[in-house]
């Protein structure tokens, strides 16, 4: 059975760090812009955003998605409900299947291949493959001048489409490149760069790329130091624009970079080769497109932009520079009954619509009666993700773990519900009447556990 790509979408976090800033701190030179997650962004929020965009581009209802294959080197819960949280936030059916793939940047390709296999096997008809990554480099490491963050989502289907997944080529050889131990916060760079180039990158990835027949017209290649991909392109006469554009825009987003490049290449017809390397494995996958894939055209815009920050801001956002002092614990512990009761409604953004007066009360778990008429004939509804600012404030006095300025926004959603949520960013550009969109963001890390909810983001 043919597996087609029905739609794609990408996302990059909201901060940009000039590599020069890093060089300024540690010496030497560096070029380009690096995407950095703000404190309320991580691999889950980026993956959610990319998938939301892909589903929207393909006009695909999330309830039709039967499986989620998510790849990231750093799932928010090393042991915990990472996939279930993401699936709930995307409003996938409770019966959806799938897997979380991790362990190395190679996981990005694994997710797409595994999702495609499930479609090919007839186990699911529509699958979502999400690759999101935000490697945290050690301060002062060589990796720090290159590390970025980003996400891509592929909607794969048996129903046909303009792009088909082709052959997979793969090689395995036990050699160390990047390394992160179970208790390490940052990615470590312990290999010998010359050895890596001579014994791993050029021979292993090169052999994989050369084995692909017929040769694709363009390649999305891993490029761990900013020079190796160009070296291979020169040796093998390859067009590597798809991945070079991604590295230039957001830096090395680990498992996501080459997957984003391959998706971006689908904005026109042709054959693109998509290579991944990591964990001692090199693989290449071919994608044939006879016309543009929905969503692909938007990818450059989805990666562009971002607010420039200083190196200090970036360290703080990565959690590598923490204030001292006692944070105030949440009244409700993350695994407590309050979260269990409200978990799905919060991630799925549910409301309770009154059968008598039509008013929507939120959240349902604290509203056994309608706020409009007091009636209790309530039905669960999924709330609109779009609305208008009714009123707002920007709080400048917050105790840890909050970071001021913190905008709080009362939104009239397009379906008539009213919500108050935090605003993303510093709120300096907010005004009554602004159109805003609700995006999943990480509210806080409470007792080591990430807590997710929706934030208002001004519509572009």
């Amino acid at each position: 059975m043919d597996v087609a790509i029905a739609a794609v979408g990408a996302a990059a976090p909201s901060l940009r760090l000039r590599a020069e800033e890093v060089a300024g701190a540690w010496g030497g030179r560096a070029r380009g812009a690096l995407a950095v997650c703000a404190a309320d962004e991580d691999v889950l929020t980026l993956g959610w955003l990319a998938a939301t965009r892909a589903l929207r581009a393909g006009a695909i209802d999330s309830t039709a998605v039967e499986g989620l294959w998510w790849a990231t080197t750093t799932p928010p819960f090393a042991d915990g409900p990472s996939s279930a949280y993401l699936a709930a936030a995307l409003q996938l059916p409770a019966s959806s299947t799938g897997a979380l793939l991790t362990g190395s940047p190679h996981a990005g390709l694994d997710a797409i291949v595994t999702a495609a296999d499930a479609v090919r096997a007839g186990r699911v008809t529509t699958a979502l493959a999400i690759v999101s990554d935000a490697p945290v480099p050690g301060p002062g490491s060589a990796l720090e001048r290159r590390a970025g963050a980003g996400a891509v989502a592929y909607v794969l289907t048996a129903a046909g489409g303009h792009a088909r997944l082709g052959e997979l080529t793969t090689r395995s050889r036990p050699l160390l490149d990047r390394y992160r131990g179970a208790s390490d916060a940052v990615l470590r760079d312990v290999y010998d760069p010359r050895l890596y180039r001579e014994r791993i990158y050029l021979p292993e990835i090169g052999a994989t790329v050369r084995a692909v027949d017929p040769a694709p017209t363009a390649w999305s290649l891993p490029d761990p130091d900013g020079r190796l991909a160009r070296l291979m392109a020169k040796d093998l006469d390859l067009d590597i624009a798809p991945s070079a554009d991604v590295y230039a825009a957001i830096g090395d987003a680990g498992a996501a970079t080459t997957a984003i490049g391959a998706a971006a290449a689908l904005r026109e017809g042709g054959t693109v080769g998509f290579a991944a390397h990591g964990g001692g494995r090199s693989s290449a996958l071919v994608i044939d497109a006879d016309a543009a894939v929905p969503g692909a055209f938007d990818i450059p815009q989805q990666l562009a932009g971002g607010r420039s920050v200083t190196y200090t801001d970036a360290l703080r956002a990565r959690g590598l520079l923490e204030p001292s002092g006692e944070p105030i614990p949440m009244g409700v512990p993350p695994g407590g009954a309050g979260f269990v009761r409200g978990g799905e409604e919060l991630l799925g953004l549910h409301g309770a619509r009154c059968a008598d007066c039509g008013v929507i009360s939120t959240p349902p778990s604290v509203h056994p009666a309608c706020v409009g008429c007091g009636g209790d004939d309530l039905g669960a509804v999924s709330l609109s993700r779009h609305g208008e600012v009714h009123t707002f404030v920007v709080n400048q006095t917050m105790p840890p773990p909050f970071v001021a300025p913190l905008p709080l926004v009362v939104i009239d959603l397009d379906d008539g519900a009213r919500l108050m949520v935090q605003g993303a960013g510093d709120g300096s550009d907010l005004a009554i009447g602004d159109r805003v969109e609700l995006e999943v963001r990480r509210y806080t890390i409470e007792r080591g556990v990430p807590i997710y909810g929706y934030k208002a983001v001004k519509e572009a």
Binding site: M330, F339, Q396, M420
Partner: protein, 392 residues
């Protein structure tokens, strides 16, 4: 002719402030001694049959707010009936209403209503700001007290052209009143320049838009109207009261330019008293933030919607204006020790109606005054009490 079945024959308070050297119990004792001393013809302590203790944050602030039973023991009334009344920021106002009902019911002839709150035994971060992490983990997250009122300011400014200067006019007026009140936490006047230069706490509210964290206690003595003359020749009577609630969370509000709980409480109080806003000489209203006072005086019917800002700027709510508001300095200058707040407002009105407010004294023409509080997570409850000098 209103309800007038209950008389206030004594009222008193301790000077408000950051009372680091006074315990919860000492503050309560201070307010109790003040109210006893205020009774013109004197009162035997043993005449007090029951007491209602207003306190809101008893357990949170580390004070012994478990029920009402710690206060009678602390102030030397061990053994009498005592209950704690907690109804958010209007706790003191509501204890007053409940005390009046206890007297009007005929069960008690003499009732002490006492409010006490310790706001500063914990640091700001551990205390007031810590609530940002309490409540619903997502829907209430990041809510500190200003967050519950600042959105009203943003919207009121948007709909009615209310300006920062109009908010500032409330702060300037209340600080001016507070400068004349020996019981006020802040007794300094401020200028518009100082107001505008003060740090932003929660946009659009500046520091001077916010009431301070204040320790304090206040108390009143209520008796059956028929027995008032045993205690004083200048009693003040309870003309009426009203309580109303509204949805507690901000996202459940249908409007950000009025507070339905206040409108409802006022409607009930006016109806019970047989009075309207035009019959009121002066009012003590809930100005936890400057915007709250503007909302209040519109919701209480003193001004049309949207007109409170310009009216304040023009001095209509000053001591010599059409309707003096917060002659005590209000919560902004006098302070807001939650359980004590409503009872300290009633104390101010008791002084004003009896012509005992000193430099702050306003002209009493009709003999009626109104006291108001609003609170709850997000303006979820309001209490209005109306006092009168008219004899039953």
């Amino acid at each position: 002719m209103g309800w007038n079945r209950v008389a206030v024959v004594g009222a008193g308070m301790i000077p408000f402030g950051e009372l680091f050297d006074q315990s919860y119990e000492h503050m309560a004792k201070g307010a109790f001694e003040a109210v006893i001393a205020s009774v013109d013809k004197g009162i035997e302590r043993s005449a007090i049959e029951a007491m209602f203790v207003a306190t809101q944050r008893g357990t949170l602030w580390g004070q012994e707010g478990i029920g009402g039973n710690t206060v009678p023991s602390a102030i030397g009334l061990n053994g009498i009936a005592a209950s704690r009344i907690e109804n958010a920021c209007p706790s003191g106002s509501d204890a007053f209403r409940i005390g009046a009902m206890a007297v009007a019911s005929g069960v008690h002839d003499v009732v002490l209503v006492i409010g006490v709150e310790k706001m500063r035994d914990k640091s700001t971060e551990e205390g007031l700001l810590a609530r940002a992490a309490s409540g619903h983990p997502i829907y209430n997250r990041g809510e500190t007290a200003p967050v519950l009122f600042a959105p009203f300011a943003t919207r009121h400014m948007h709909e009615y052209g209310t300006t920062q200067e109009m908010l500032g006019a409330v702060a300037i007026k209340n600080h001016n009143n507070g400068s004349l009140d020996p019981y006020a936490h802040f007794r300094d006047e401020i200028t518009l320049e100082q107001y505008l230069a003060s740090p932003i706490v929660c946009e659009p509210l500046h520091l001077y838009d916010c009431c301070p964290q204040t320790d304090g206690a206040a108390a009143v003595l209520l008796v059956r109207a028929e027995r008032a003359s045993e205690f004083t020749d200048a009693p003040v009577f309870v003309a009426g009261f009203g309580v109303a609630t509204d949805h507690p969370s901000l996202h459940e509000k249908t409007s950000f330019v009025e507070i339905p709980a206040t409108v409802g409480a006022a409607e009930r109080a006016y109806a019970m008293a047989g009075l309207g806003p035009d019959d009121i000489d002066l009012a003590e209203v809930h100005d936890c933030f400057t915007i709250t006072e503007l909302l209040d005086i519109e919701d209480l019917g003193f001004f049309e919607k949207g007109k409170a800002g310009p009216a304040t700027l023009e001095g209509e709510t000053s001591r010599s204006g059409r309707i003096p508001i917060n002659t005590s300095g209000g919560l902004i200058a006098k302070g807001h020790p939650i359980g004590a707040t409503g009872l300290s407002q009633i104390t101010e009105l008791w002084w004003q109606l009896r012509g005992e407010a000193g430099d702050r004294q306003v002209e009493i023409r009709r003999g009626n005054a109104l006291q108001h509080n609003v609170g709850g997570r997000g303006t979820g409850v309001s209490v209005v009490n109306i006092l009168t000098t008219e004899r039953p």
